[in-house]
Symmetry: C2
Subunit: 333 residues, 2 copies
């Protein structure tokens, strides 16, 4: 029996057919229950680009590939469901690595996803490649009955709120790439890089209660992703970076001379925080929810008219003029 | 502006939001019209494995990546709709190649898909890679009101029917890989390899009229794919290979000493023929449809009890004992 089919049987065993999928792995296409899923996201991780096998275990990579997609569904204010996974692997595939990968995905599904959702495999594809591994995951989800939360509906006057701790993952990568720094001293940062925790429950509840006018997750860095939201909504914004939480380990990392907190906060990628815009009248409800569920929420600024562009006050309260470096998928030509 | 966003704008221009997609490219996830799509397939093409840039143009690769997915939806008896595309590309990306790729996909959508369906981009992802290009396409579709056609419902007594010309693509690859053979002499074979024509309309009509009890497309070779259908349905089969059409160019290729027709017919990959099982009472309707729409249909055998396994009569009418070599994604260990 070719190993491809053994692998497919293994995936089907680890990730049994989820709710909402009537016919899963093993046919030409999966068959969904009609009307169940109305959100689709797709994210690709490339070895050496999105992860480094010397810095991340197979479990970390499995976790991260699901986490990135979960974050996208959360940013729509919806709940996650069936995923479709394409793996391009070396030939022969590293079966031990693969078992770790499944384990990491499984852990992410168990730890990050509320019990009311069933995240598992609906189908996918396996291929061999002569180059780095390429992992493409497409995750389906269900929008809230209140409707999906898009990027394009922010209006001047809306508050800008960050849910989560920006900059931790960027700090973690700095620690891992350094020969000097002690991983044990920066455990929280390293964990944030290796096992990012997207706000799946939070995004779903925000969508359910119709709190945000617009929302995005921060995969490329806070300023860059906020920029996408502003440009979709055709608005400007004023941001006060000093309203953001600064984790003690991030401050310690700056003190160790490894870089600047401000840069990590505003430009660091892969945090999977949620950035939402909230009409002022809904802010009290948001604060209620934050207290009730113990969310880390920061009110960092306001949506302005498009003419005002994006103005960012730094940690020192002064306007930032220089550009924030953030993750680029391709270098600009 | 980073080139990634230019590329995304270009994709959105070439492939405008399709019917059934309420919010497409440009948010964290696409938003589908509820209840529109209930089929999902995913296929990956890896440079050097599924295509060779010296044998296939960018247009050919774009065509083939959509064709492979269209064939999967056709094999469910459904109609195609929104696709999600992940491209892992070298950095900097070859923009000319990409334009060719879009053109090929566009051509496939226009030439292969009946007008009643709207195949275009709902979303996707762009990444850079240091290795060969990896193209993952996930295509959604709509099952027929009569229900999706699965692999698992064939029963003993059903006829086994092939729609299309198996072996042509395999012959085309032989011609392209050879230094001796004249491409002009084998135009049909080369075209079948470069621009396979899955049976999108045929699959949809077969599903609509509820003709097949089970169906699969031949991407890995007739015998191997039939084997998947038999194993899903837990049945055996008797096949008469001599009932299959033999294209004159395929016979000429054997005469030129380049291989064996029987091998190409039974083991050749990437043909995207449909193999269907049909209860005898529905065969007259199938023959009617074949005449009406000018389909190439071959009745090649019968579903048997599982104990009989798969028995194949070769072109000479004698049972084939040796194994049919077919495309393997990974070598067996």
């Amino acid at each position: 029996m070719p190993i491809e089919f053994e692998l497919i049987e293994r995936i089907a065993a680890v990730f049994p057919r989820p709710e909402g999928v009537w016919e899963g792995i093993g046919d030409d296409a999966a068959v969904l229950d009609p009307g169940r899923f109305d959100l689709v996201t797709m994210d690709t991780l490339v070895e050496g680009v999105h992860f480094r096998s010397d810095l991340s275990t197979a479990e970390d990579v499995g976790w991260k590939s699901l986490a990135a997609n979960l974050s996208d569904i959360a940013a729509m204010g919806g709940g996650p469901g069936a995923f479709f996974l394409s793996l391009a692997l070396p030939d022969p595939p590293d079966l031990e690595w693969l078992e770790g990968f499944w384990r990491g995905m499984r852990q992410a599904a168990q730890e990050l996803v509320p019990e009311s959702f069933d995240v598992s495999a609906g189908g996918g594809d396996l291929s061999r490649t002569t180059g780095p591994m390429v992992i493409t995951l497409s995750l389906m989800g269900e929008a809230s009955p209140a409707g999906p939360v898009l990027r394009k509906n922010a209006v001047p006057g809306d508050r800008i709120v960050v849910l989560g701790d920006p900059g931790l993952a960027a700090g973690g990568l700095v620690v891992l790439e350094s020969d000097q720094l002690d991983e044990d001293q920066f455990k929280e940062l390293v964990a944030a890089y290796r096992r990012p925790r997207p706000h799946v429950r939070e995004g779903g509840l925000l969508g359910l209660y119709g709190i945000p006018s617009a929302m995005i997750d921060t995969s490329d860095g806070l300023i860059q992703d906020l920029g996408h939201l502003l440009s979709s909504s055709q608005v400007g914004a004023q941001i006060e970076a000093f309203q953001l939480p600064i984790a003690p380990e991030l401050a310690a990392l700056e003190e160790a001379g490894a870089g600047q907190v401000e840069q990590w906060l505003l430009g660091g990628g892969e945090d999977f925080c949620l950035v939402l815009t909230v009409p002022p009248a809904r802010m009290p409800k948001l604060w209620d929810m934050a207290r009730q569920y113990d969310w880390k929420v920061s009110d960092i600024g306001e949506i302005r008219s498009p003419e005002e562009g994006l103005q960012v006050m730094g940690l020192d309260g002064e306007p930032i003029k220089r550009e924030i470096t953030s993750f680029r998928h391709f270098e600009a030509t």
